[in-house]
Amino acid sequence: MKPGRHGDRRTALLFLSPALIVLAVVTVYPAIWLFWLSLQQRIPVFGIARFAGLDHYQFLTVDARFWNAAGVTVAFTAASVSIELVLGLFAALALRAQCNGRRLALSLLLLAWALPAVVTAKLFEWLYHPNAGLVNFVLGGRQLNWLGDPGLALPGLILADVWRTMPFVALLCYARLLGIPAEVYEAAQVDGAGRFAMLTRITLPLLRRVLLIALLFRTLDALRAFDLMFVLTAGGPAGTTETLTVYAYRTLFQTMQLGFGSAISVVVFLLVMATAWLYLRALGREEARA
């Protein structure tokens, strides 16, 4: 038994090796290089290249702009992901209950999801236009300063993000819902379960795993959010919509501070990795239970 297992393991490794090598080349190597860069002060435009140790990280601990960006990133992620999950779930339930035009509804959902983020951003730029925008018109001709008010800019971006990615959650949930056999519900009905009981006792528990997967994907995406804020507000006003990735971009590509920018990127990387690890552990426990 044992030698056979050994052989299996070796074969498995052999088959896995191309994928592992590719992963090592395209992710592990750049990640290590990024970390190495973050330990240096490098501004190629000015010919500066020296070892800086942990200087950049030390500065990050007192950098108000960094902490602001970290706060914006977390707030954006928490708000947009939770709203997307709830709305997506309801959209999926509504889709299942719908008898006519399901195909049309699905295509419309997909359209929002399929639009490139920059197109969505441009779309919302017009929707939020202070004088000519549809949003203010619908709100009764109010002159809300969506993208220029520090209290409204982030909610405005969250709304745009929810519009864009809620369909992803909805489609995932809908696909799972289709897999729940009707007999389960019929049996519950026979037992006298109401609509609410069926939702909380049958549907939601069966959706748990798919919701967790949706949560994982959406959280990782939202933590790296860039395009919407870059196009719509450029991080403004007063940096209230500047996420960590926007800050990293400005540092890396606009002012070419490769070392400092890499340090910010390393923090984003660690944040995403830690979140992914937590979710994967939760998923693993879920698998073990199932």
């Binding site: 500065f59 507000t233 940096g239």
Partner: protein
């Protein structure tokens, strides 16, 4: 079984032969593309000219390039567009010029990038390709902006200056003259809005979005109050008290409604459109707006005037920020002579006359502002000439982008009232000192 396999293989081989030829052809084509154009001397050479899309009804650049090709048989010019915003253009260059192989030969540069790119060693030294007499024909501030370390790195192509647009019809109606001070401007806005009783008429529009345009507007506010952003020793906000006054005024405009709240998210086009729809009394913008405001279908056609930007209490006079575009040559171009010839041609008086006539891109050559033919089509040219001569360049430093990127969120924080001008002045100084610790 075995038999099947071999036939399969043979069929495969026979099918593979034409495939291989195709692969070889494609690879050859890719290789040729990668190696770029044929070497100089053998047949026509191709220059790639990278520039921003020219706004307006007609794009004169295409015609100019065809003309250049006619004058220089053996040189072809391919024109390629840059991204839309100045930030994205800068990023495009930074990413593409840092590597060695040039994807383009001649490039359009925002004035603020010339010292940075020159210091990075990305531009060809053009000092010897342009006679001093030719240089003297351009606005001195444009030539200064292209000069770094005593050498010339680009030639001025398009001139820009910040100026004040006003609704001449409204000012006339209330017997007013264009404001000389910001106090006047505030008084006029109050008077006109009280008289017009139009809730849709805003006062003073300018650019307050968190981007480069905000830095330009803030610079003009500082100059108007007799101070500046950076002194000769590289000190930021050398006169903090005056700087704070100027910034506090910008905040006051937003807080009191003299400017609509949305200027904190406004760029040039957003403000130009609102003013063009007759919804504001004053607008700070560049000369390009004039032509668009005078289009036949413009609601404010014939009702717009231009004036110098006003001044504050401590300032001798208001000054608009100069800007515009220069043309440079990639340091590693394979055809330096041809590329320099194209730059000289496009910045020549003849080419600038075409540009100025067609879409009113203002020339950098001063003589053209007095050209009778041009003036008949663009009666504002003499006024713009005076404003440009009085204009001031943004700080000419290789660190300009770092400076701007540091200031943008800070200035925005003043406008929306999150930080006081005092905090912003203090924190910007500390931050800039940290960023530049290796550079002095």
């Amino acid at each position: 079984m075995l038999f099947d396999c071999t036939t399969e293989l043979r069929v495969g081989a026979r099918r593979a032969a034409p495939c291989l030829i195709v692969v070889a052809l494609v690879a050859g084509a890719l290789l040729a593309a990668a190696c770029g154009r044929p070497p100089a001397g053998s047949g026509p050479i191709t220059l790639v000219f990278k520039h921003a899309k020219i706004l307006g009804p007609t794009d004169p650049v295409g015609d100019l390039l065809r003309k250049f090709e006619a004058l220089h048989p053996g040189i072809r010019v391919k024109s390629e567009s840059l991204p839309w915003t100045t930030d994205e253009q800068h990023q495009y260059y930074v990413v593409n010029m840092e590597g060695g192989t040039p994807a383009f030969d001649v490039l359009m540069l925002d004035v603020i990038w010339v010292p940075e790119f020159a210091r990075a060693g990305w531009l060809l030294d053009l000092t010897d390709s342009e006679p001093p007499a030719e240089l003297a024909a351009h606005f001195p501030s444009a030539v200064d902006a292209a000069t770094f370390g005593g050498r010339l790195w680009a030639l001025p192509w398009i001139m820009n200056v910040g100026l004040l647009y006003y609704r001449a019809d409204l000012l006339d109606k209330y017997g007013l003259r264009p404001p000389e001070t910001y106090d006047d401007l505030v008084g006029q806005v109050r008077l006109i809005r009280a008289g017009e009783r139009d809730a849709r008429l805003d006062g003073f529009l300018w650019q307050g979005k968190q981007y480069e345009g905000l830095v330009v507007n803030a610079l003009e506010a500082l100059w108007a109050n007799g101070t500046r952003l950076l002194d000769e020793d590289g000190r930021l906000f050398p006169d903090p008290a005056r700087a704070e006054e100027a910034l506090a005024f910008l905040r006051m405009l937003v807080a009191t409604g003299l400017s609509p709240p949305w200027v904190t998210a406004a760029d040039e086009e957003l403000t130009r459109r609102a003013f063009g729809n007759g919804r504001a009394v004053f607008l700070r913008n560049w000369p390009y707006a004039m032509d668009l405001l005078q289009q036949p279908d413009s609601p404010v056609r014939g009702r717009v005037g231009i004036a110098p930007l006003p001044r504050h209490a401590h300032g001798a006079r208001g000054a608009g920020s100069t800007g515009g575009a220069h043309l440079g040559v990639h340091r590693h171009t394979r055809h330096p002579e041809a590329a320099a010839a194209l730059v000289r041609f496009l910045t020549s008086e003849e080419a600038q006359r075409v540009m100025a006539g067609g879409v009113a891109l203002n020339p950098t050559r001063m003589a053209l502002y007095h050209d009778p033919a041009l003036r008949s089509g663009h009666p504002n040219l003499p006024e713009i000439y005076r404003l440009t001569l009085a204009g001031r360049p943004r700080p000419v430093t290789p660190y300009y982008l770092m400076l701007s990127s540091t200031l943008q969120p800070e200035l925005s924080a003043v406008l929306v009232g999150i930080k006081s001008p005092r905090e912003v002045v203090r924190q910007s100084r500390a931050r800039m000192a940290h960023m530049l610790r290796d550079l002095r």
